[in-house]
Assembly symmetry: C2
Homo-oligomer: 332 residues x 2
Amino acid sequence: MTEISRRNLLTGAAALSAGTAIGGFAMSPAMAAAPPAGKQAPGFYRYKVGDIEITVVTDGTTRFKFADTHVTNKTRDEVNAAQVEAFQEKDMMTTPYNPVVVNTGSKLVVIDTGTGEANFQRSKGATGQFQTNLATAGIDRNAVDMVVISHFHGDHINGLLTADNKPVFPNAEILVPAAEWKYFMDDGEMSRAPEGRMQEVFKNLRRVFDALGRKVSQYEPNKELAPGLTAISTPGHTPGHCSHVVSSGSAKVYIQGDVTHVPHLFARHPDWHAFYDQDPKVAEATRRKVYDMLAAERMMVQGFHYPFPSVAFVEKAGTGYREVPVPWNPMI
Amino acid sequence: MTEISRRNLLTGAAALSAGTAIGGFAMSPAMAAAPPAGKQAPGFYRYKVGDIEITVVTDGTTRFKFADTHVTNKTRDEVNAAQVEAFQEKDMMTTPYNPVVVNTGSKLVVIDTGTGEANFQRSKGATGQFQTNLATAGIDRNAVDMVVISHFHGDHINGLLTADNKPVFPNAEILVPAAEWKYFMDDGEMSRAPEGRMQEVFKNLRRVFDALGRKVSQYEPNKELAPGLTAISTPGHTPGHCSHVVSSGSAKVYIQGDVTHVPHLFARHPDWHAFYDQDPKVAEATRRKVYDMLAAERMMVQGFHYPFPSVAFVEKAGTGYREVPVPWNPMI
């Protein structure tokens, strides 16, 4: 049907029915709608912290059946009750991965890198989106000056490498927490680590950093890494885990890394121990300290495992905390 | 600086500092970062309801100093307390506008149309974004089969016209609630309406529908307007205000129109009367009925004045309800 005949047909139909009530869709001309687009919007979001521009660039989400030990000190039934309370699926965990890019005005800094490009094919596009979304956000990976790593789990470091194990950020200095490097690069620690997941963590980080010729700069907490970007020691999830505060004028955001895993479980219940927390008691103490501060200061938090765009405020709620997503701003 | 020399400089610097702790950013080569992008991500979001594809297409947000009468039965101090509780600004209201597009497979349906293209210049791009975001979402306005209007306030109908008062959807049937048409097109009702805002509402809707030659189809509630799309009478905000349920298989979403204005005030406090509610008592009764149902059925709600992408679940909280945003899904 041509554009013209379609228009005539429609305005004719509309004219006939003007001022009369219709009860169904029988009067609508029988035409196929446009095919479903089937394609999500690009996965990035921008906001300002004072003069600094933050771009959240999602790497995607994983959905998986969680193990009985997913929360090591709670039963599946207790976890499922929390899932239902948060309108999440029973028995299934959806985990988002959200690296950020900080443009300080003089430095272009990536904080954490996602699950890696190689994961895109493997996951059928569910994860490994970081590089694609970065390009869509108009950020050239060759222009990145600095990559700051919070800790050495694969979903934070694998995105340092392309699918063929080349550096994703060839012109960037790679900054890693000194305590993380000291612990995980110690072959004695590796030899004493339990079989299974912990051995995999040690092996994977060697794979990644060896491919980069171990060319990294180690950083200490409480130091400014770039103008307005300061590292904070937040151990427990891993021995050298660091968070990062972006500050400009009176504005601040706390980029928490994995101080909590998904907030609907671990911000609401800070005493719940995620399978991923290497030292659960230290992780819990860190979590309470950080979240007490976030709630008291009413400071924005950017959470790697929060739902995209993963920026929220935190309020005290019950025996824990609750995340209040920052409303999406269609401007910057 | 060329790409090559930049790379050399950086890998050199990184090699020097490998294995050594750095205290600041003095070692980073002095290079200007990429300029800030300054541009937000495209304002659309997709999800499926069974076989039906929904695209939320934002028209933007307005930020304004609210009047003492913004909530007619509450003081400014009470409203400000609720603003602070929800991490919103004191004295300033940010109102999002989020039309949706429903692709049923056989019909491409727009529900409400935003503040209008003419508003884009006037608001310096803060609102009037609907047409641009629609195009970015890959939806051709000429392919739209049907536009369903919830009620006759300007932020829902002005987007029917281009900046030069031509139809935005030249091939679409325009469906309006029969009760809304009966009331607002009655010149007697217009003559009895108070001066000021109510007269403006009557004048504006005549401006819009006259430009369309009053070629509309009136619809009754509890009827299917397109496959899977049913209208529900939800009066109070305006006399003929309608909401819409999209249903496919066991999946449903309740497209509420203005059953609540911004949820952090009017879902949390269903007894608060928005300045915009024409019959506040009826609006409150409708609000309680709809929100009791949403909470009991655990049904998703799509809220025109919710923050983009404006799709949430609803839980009972205190003396009212609280919205729980549906996590962003980077796939569809």
